[in-house]
C-alpha cells in the first residue's frame, strides 16, 4: 500500500513537472508550424554546403506570387490589382523594371572595348565580315541600339552586344509601363506580388491567399479577364486548410469510433472518461516532447500523430478488460498482470519508433518523438493512475462482449489445430500476391504532392507562359564575384560545346568576368591595330580611339541601371565557416533541352556548381532513405525476435516471427494491389505494424488465448483499424498510403497473432 502511495506521488510529481515544462516551452520558446512538404524531407541540396547559397538566392523569391492576366480589359485589371493589393497587409506590388535603353547604353559606353558578341568574336580578324555586320545593323529599321551607341561606339560591337544581351533576358515586353508576355496570339499582363511573412505563418498565409483569390475572382468577373497565378503561398494555404480539416474531422471521427466501442463493450461512463483522460495526457506528453526537441513542427506530424489515439487506446482496453481483477486482488502494483506485457509492449514499440528518431526526414523524427513520449505518458497513466480511480475496479464487460470474446476464442482454438494449414495458406497467398502484384516502390516526391490539381495546372500554365516550364537551374558559388563569373563562363562554355541547343538565361550576357573583358579588349585592340575596323569606321566616318582598359566590375554593375537583374540572379551571403567574409552565388536557368548525363556528371564533379533540382534531389534522397528504412526494419525485427525467442522459447519465437512478418508482407502486397505503386510511407507503416503485432503476440504469450486477452486485442485491433482506416481518405498521399498499409496490417495481425498464442484456461 505504501509502495502504491509512493507511485501515486511520483505520478503527480512527474505530471506536474511535465505540464510546467510544457507551459514554459509553449510560452517562452520560439516554435512554429510548417506546412511545406519539402521542408520536412531530406535536405534538397545535392551538396550540403550549397544550402546557404540556395537560401540567399531563393528565400525571398519563395514568397513571391506571379499573376498573369489575359483578356480585353487585362490592362485595367492589372491596374485594379495594383490598387487593391495596397490594401492587403503584408502584400506589396513588385514592379517589373523596364530598363531604359539610353541609360543602359550610357552605362556601357565606358566598357565598349571590352564586350563582344559571339558573331563579332567569330569575325574579329575579317574586315569584310566586320563591315557586313556593322552595315546590317545600321540599315535595320530604327534600330534603337545603333541610334543610342553609334556616336560614341561606332564599331557597333556595343550595339549588337546590348541587343543580344537584353533580348536574352526574357520574353517580357512592356506596354504603358506594364510588363506582358506573348503566348501565341494571346497577351498576358504580368503582376508580381511580394508577400512578407515572418516564417510561414499558417493563419496569415491562409488569410492572404483567400483575400488574393477573392480579389482575382472579383476583378476577373468585373473586367471579364482570366487570371493565372502561381506561388508557394497558395500551396501553403491549400495544405493548411486540408490538414486542418483532416485533423479535426479524422480526430473527431477517431474519438467517436473509439468511444462508441468502449460504450458498447463496457456500458459505463467511467471507461469513457478514463479513455479520454489517457488520450489527452498522451497527446500532451507527445506535444511537449516535440516542443522540447524541435523548433519547427510540421502540420503533417499532427496528422500522423492522430495514430497515437489508436495505440494508446490499446493500453486502455487492456486496463479496462483486466480492471475487475482489482476486486479480488489487492491493488499491489507488482500483482498487476498488465505491467509485464504493457511495459514489454511499450519497449518494443518504442524501439520501433526510436529508430525513426534519427531519420533524415524530420517529419518521421517528430512523429517518433511524439509517439514514444505519448505512449510513455499513456503507459504510466494506465498503470498508476487508472487503478486509483474510484469505481475503476467495478468496470465489467457487457454480456454481448463476453459472448463475442468467448465465440472468438472458440473459433481461434479450432483454427489453432490447423496451424500448419494456416501457415501454408499464408505462404501460398503471399507467393500468389507477389506474382500478381509484385511490390514496386516509386520514390518520386511529386507523387506525394497533395496540392489540388487545379493549382498544379495553373503553376504549369504560368511556367509555360514565362518560359521556365521544364527548365533546370544551376547554382554557382564562389568566394569572390570574379571567381563566380569565371566559373559561370566555364560552365556555359562546356554546356554549349556539348549541347548547343540549350538556352541559358542569367546575368552571363550582361556582365562578363574581368578576365573575359580583358580577352575581348585585347582582341579589339589587336583588330584595330591590324586595321580590321577601317571599313566599319568608314560607314560613320567617326573615330573611336582605344583607350586604357577599364573593367566593368560586379560592384559597378550593382550600381547601374540593370541592378535589378543582378538582384534576380545573384546574391551575396555569409558562410557558416567564415561569417566575417562574404561569399557569392548566382543561378542560371537552362531550357530548351535537358542537361545530358555526361554534363550532369561533369557538373557534379565541379565543387562550385550544383544542379538545383529540388524534386529530383528529394526523390533520390527518399530512395536512399527507403533502402535505409528497409535495412532498419530488418534489424529491428531481428532484435525484437531475439528478445521474444529468449523470453518465450524457439518455437513460440518462430511462430511470432511468422505472424509478424506474414502480416507485414500481407499489408504491403495488398496495398500494392489497391494502389499502383508503394512509397516510403507504406514501408514506414510496416514499422508500426510490427510494433503493434509484437504487442498482440506478447499479450497472447503472457495470458494465452483466453476471453479477456482476446477481447482486449479485438478492441485494440478494431479501434486501430478504425483510426488508421480513416487516414486512407486523406487527400495527402503520404498519410493515405500510411493509413492503408497499417489498416491492412492490423487486420492481418489480428488474424495471425493467435497462432503464436499458448493455450490457456478461460
Amino acid at each position: 500500500m505504501r509502495g502504491c502511495n509512493k507511485l501515486k506521488k511520483f505520478y503527480w510529481f512527474q505530471l506536474c513537472s511535465v505540464l510546467l515544462l510544457g507551459g514554459y516551452l509553449l510560452l517562452f520558446t520560439q516554435w512554429h508550424i510548417e506546412t511545406n512538404l519539402l521542408s520536412i524531407l531530406p535536405n534538397s541540396s545535392q551538396k550540403q554546403d550549397f544550402t546557404i547559397a540556395e537560401q540567399a538566392l531563393f528565400t525571398n523569391k519563395s514568397q513571391q506570387i506571379v499573376v498573369l492576366i489575359s483578356g480585353e480589359n487585362a490592362r485595367r485589371a492589372h491596374n485594379a490589382i495594383a490598387t487593391a493589393v495596397s490594401e492587403i497587409d503584408q502584400v506589396s506590388i513588385l514592379r517589373t523594371p523596364e530598363p531604359s535603353l539610353s541609360e543602359v547604353a550610357e552605362f556601357y559606353l565606358p566598357y565598349r572595348h571590352n564586350v563582344l558578341t559571339a558573331t563579332y568574336l567569330e569575325h574579329i580578324d575579317n574586315s569584310h565580315a566586320l563591315m557586313q555586320l556593322a552595315t546590317n545593323q545600321v540599315i535595320q529599321l530604327a534600330n534603337p541600339f545603333v541610334s543610342a551607341t553609334i556616336a560614341k561606339a561606332p564599331r557597333l560591337n556595343l550595339a549588337q552586344y546590348l541587343q543580344e544581351a537584353l533580348a536574352n533576358l526574357g520574353d517580357i515586353e512592356f506596354e504603358q509601363g506594364m510588363a506582358f508576355v506573348r503566348v501565341q496570339d494571346q497577351r498576358y499582363f504580368l503582376s508580381r506580388l511580394q508577400v512578407s511573412l515572418n516564417g510561414l505563418d499558417l493563419n496569415a498565409s491562409t488569410t492572404i491567399a483567400t483575400k488574393l483569390q477573392q480579389l482575382f475572382s472579383d476583378i476577373g468577373n468585373t473586367e471579364q479577364v482570366e487570371f493565372l497565378y502561381s506561388g508557394i503561398l497558395f500551396h501553403t494555404a491549400e495544405s493548411t486548410s486540408q490538414a486542418k480539416a483532416e485533423i479535426s474531422s479524422f480526430g473527431v471521427l477517431s474519438i467517436i469510433a473509439v468511444l462508441l466501442l468502449i460504450w458498447t463493450v463496457f456500458r459505463s461512463l467511467l471507461p469513457l472518461v478514463a479513455a479520454i483522460m489517457v488520450i489527452t495526457i498522451a497527446c500532451v506528453y507527445g506535444f511537449i516532447a516535440m516542443l522540447l526537441f524541435f523548433q519547427s513542427l510540421h502540420l503533417l506530424t499532427l496528422v500522423f500523430a492522430i495514430t497515437l489515439i489508436g495505440v494508446v487506446i490499446d493500453y486502455c482496453f487492456h486496463a479496462f478488460v483486466y480492471a475487475d481483477r482489482n476486486q479480488s486482488n489487492n491493488k499491489n502494483y507488482k500483482s498487476n498482470p498488465l505491467v509485464k506485457p504493457l511495459v514489454l509492449g511499450f519497449i518494443t514499440t518504442a524501439i520501433g519508433y526510436f529508430i525513426l528518431v534519427f531519420s533524415p526526414l524530420s517529419l518521421l523524427s517528430q512523429v517518433a518523438v511524439f509517439m514514444i513520449f505519448g505512449l510513455l505518458g499513456a503507459l504510466i497513466t494506465v498503470l498508476i493512475l487508472l487503478p486509483q480511480l474510484k469505481g475503476f475496479a467495478k468496470i465489467t464487460r457487457s454480456v454481448s462482449a463476453i459472448t463475442f470474446s468467448q465465440r472468438g476464442v472458440d473459433f481461434f482454438h479450432k483454427l489453432l489445430n490447423h496451424k500448419t494449414i494456416i501457415i501454408s495458406i499464408l505462404g501460398l497467398a503471399l507467393s500468389l500476391l507477389a506474382i500478381v502484384a509484385p511490390i514496386q516502390f516509386n520514390d518520386d516526391v511529386r507523387l506525394l504532392n497533395s496540392s489540388p490539381q487545379w493549382l498544379i495546372a495553373q503553376e504549369v500554365k504560368v511556367a509555360t507562359a514565362l518560359g521556365y516550364q521544364g527548365s533546370q537551374r544551376l547554382i554557382i558559388k564562389a568566394e569572390t564575384p570574379q571567381q563566380m563569373l569565371e566559373t559561370q563562363e566555364q560552365v556555359i562554355e562546356r554546356i554549349h560545346d556539348t549541347q548547343a541547343n540549350i538556352k541559358i538565361k542569367g546575368i552571363n550576357n550582361l556582365l562578363p568576368s574581368i578576365k573575359r573583358q580583358q580577352q575581348h579588349y585585347a582582341l579589339i585592340s589587336q583588330a584595330d591595330e591590324s586595321g580590321y575596323f577601317h571599313g566599319v569606321l568608314a560607314i560613320s566616318d567617326l573615330a573611336d580611339p582605344i583607350t586604357m582598359f577599364h573593367p566593368l566590375t560586379y560592384q559597378d554593375f550593382l550600381q547601374g541601371p540593370l541592378a535589378s537583374v543582378a538582384q534576380t540572379y545573384t546574391a551575396s551571403y555569409q558562410t557558416a565557416t567564415t561569417p566575417e567574409k562574404k561569399a557569392y552565388a548566382l543561378w542560371l536557368e537552362l531550357s530548351n533541352e535537358p542537361l545530358s548525363a555526361a554534363n550532369i556528371l561533369w557538373l557534379e564533379q565541379h565543387k562550385s556548381v550544383a544542379l538545383y533540382d529540388t524534386a529530383s534531389d528529394v526523390s533520390d534522397a527518399l530512395s536512399q532513405y527507403r533502402q535505409g528504412v528497409f535495412y532498419l526494419l530488418i534489424s529491428a525485427f531481428i532484435v525484437v525476435m531475439v528478445i521474444l525467442v529468449a523470453k518465450y522459447g524457439l518455437k513460440a519465437g518462430a511462430l511470432s516471427s511468422i505472424a509478424t512478418i506474414g502480416s507485414a508482407l500481407l499489408a504491403l502486397t495488398l496495398s500494392q494491389l489497391f494502389s499502383s505503386y508503394l512509397n516510403i510511407f507504406n514501408l514506414l507503416a510496416v514499422l508500426l505494424i510490427i510494433a503493434l503485432a509484437i504487442d498482440y503476440v506478447i499479450f497472447y504469450h503472457e495470458h494465452g488465448l483466453q476471453a479477456k486477452t482476446f477481447l482486449a486485442i479485438s478492441l485494440s485491433a478494431l479501434s486501430s483499424a478504425a483510426v488508421f482506416g480513416i487516414l486512407v481518405f486523406s487527400a495527402t498521399p503520404a498519410v493515405s498510403s500510411f493509413g492503408l498499409t497499417v489498416m491492412v496490417g492490423i487486420v492481418s495481425i489480428f488474424i495471425l497473432a493467435p497462432i503464436a498464442a499458448k493455450k490457456a484456461q478461460i
Binding site: 546590317n136 530604327a142 543610342a148 556616336a151 567617326l542
Partner: protein
C-alpha cells in the same frame, strides 16, 4: 445679255463661295492642333521596292539601302535589303527575325513594334493606325504626322511622317496612297523610306514559305 451677266455673276459668286469654302476647309485641314482621322487605301497583299535613307545626327551623309518588300497582312512582312548588303527582315506571326546573306535566321525579341507599324501603314490598316497614333496635319503639304500613343513605340520613335508624293484624290480629302515615310527618333536621327507598292493577289510561293 442680262441673263448671261446674271448667270456669270451667280457663277462667279458661287465660285467665290466655293473658293472661300475650300480655303476654310484647307485652313481647317492644315491646322496642326486638330486631330485627324486617316483613310489610306487598303492593301492586304502587296509587293514593291523601297529606298531607305538613315540620317544620323552625328553623320554627314545618310546611309542608303534599297531592296524589295512583300507583305500579306495575314502572314507577315518580308523586307529584303539588296544594297549595300543582302539581308532580310521577316515579320512573322511568331516574331521578328533577321536573316543574313548566308540564310542564318535570328529572332529579334521585343523589337517587332516598328515593323508592325510599317505593315499597318503600308497595308492601310486605318483602324490600327488611329488606335495607336494621334494623327495631326503636317506643316508639309500632303503629309500627316503620327504621334505614337503606345509608350512601347513612343520609346523608340518621336513621330512618324506619312507623305503622299502624288496629287490629292479629289474624292478623298485625306491621304490615300503613302509612298514616303519618315521615322523620327528622339535622338534626332531619322529614317526616310520611299516606297513603290503594288497590290498583288498572292505572295510568291518562295516568300510565303519564308514567312511561314
Amino acid at each position: 445679255m442680262k441673263l448671261i451677266k446674271h448667270t456669270i455673276t451667280v457663277k462667279l459668286m458661287l465660285s467665290l463661295l466655293a473658293l472661300a469654302f475650300s480655303v476654310i476647309t484647307l485652313a481647317k485641314s492644315h491646322s496642326p492642333a486638330e486631330p485627324q482621322t486617316i483613310a489610306l487605301n487598303t492593301k492586304a497583299i502587296a509587293s514593291g521596292n523601297f529606298v531607305q535613307r538613315k540620317y544620323f545626327k552625328i553623320l554627314k551623309h545618310p546611309i542608303k539601302s534599297q531592296g524589295e518588300l512583300y507583305f500579306d497582312v495575314d502572314i507577315g512582312l518580308l523586307w529584303l535589303t539588296k544594297q549595300p548588303i543582302s539581308s532580310a527582315l521577316l515579320l512573322k506571326k511568331s516574331g521578328l527575325f533577321t536573316e543574313d546573306n548566308s540564310g542564318v535566321s535570328k529572332q529579334i525579341k521585343g523589337a517587332s513594334a516598328i515593323s508592325r507599324l510599317l505593315l499597318s501603314i503600308m497595308s492601310g490598316d486605318n483602324e490600327k493606325i488611329s488606335e495607336n497614333f494621334i494623327i495631326n496635319n503636317s506643316q508639309i503639304e500632303l503629309c500627316l504626322n503620327l504621334s505614337p500613343k503606345l509608350p512601347q513605340l513612343a520609346k523608340l520613335i518621336n513621330r512618324v511622317q506619312l507623305c503622299q508624293a502624288t496629287e490629292h484624290d479629289e474624292k478623298n480629302p485625306f491621304l490615300s496612297e503613302i509612298n514616303h515615310i519618315v521615322l523620327h527618333e528622339h535622338s534626332g536621327n531619322r529614317t526616310e523610306i520611299d516606297l513603290q507598292l503594288e497590290t498583288i493577289t498572292a505572295l510568291p510561293e518562295a516568300v510565303r514559305a519564308r514567312l511561314q
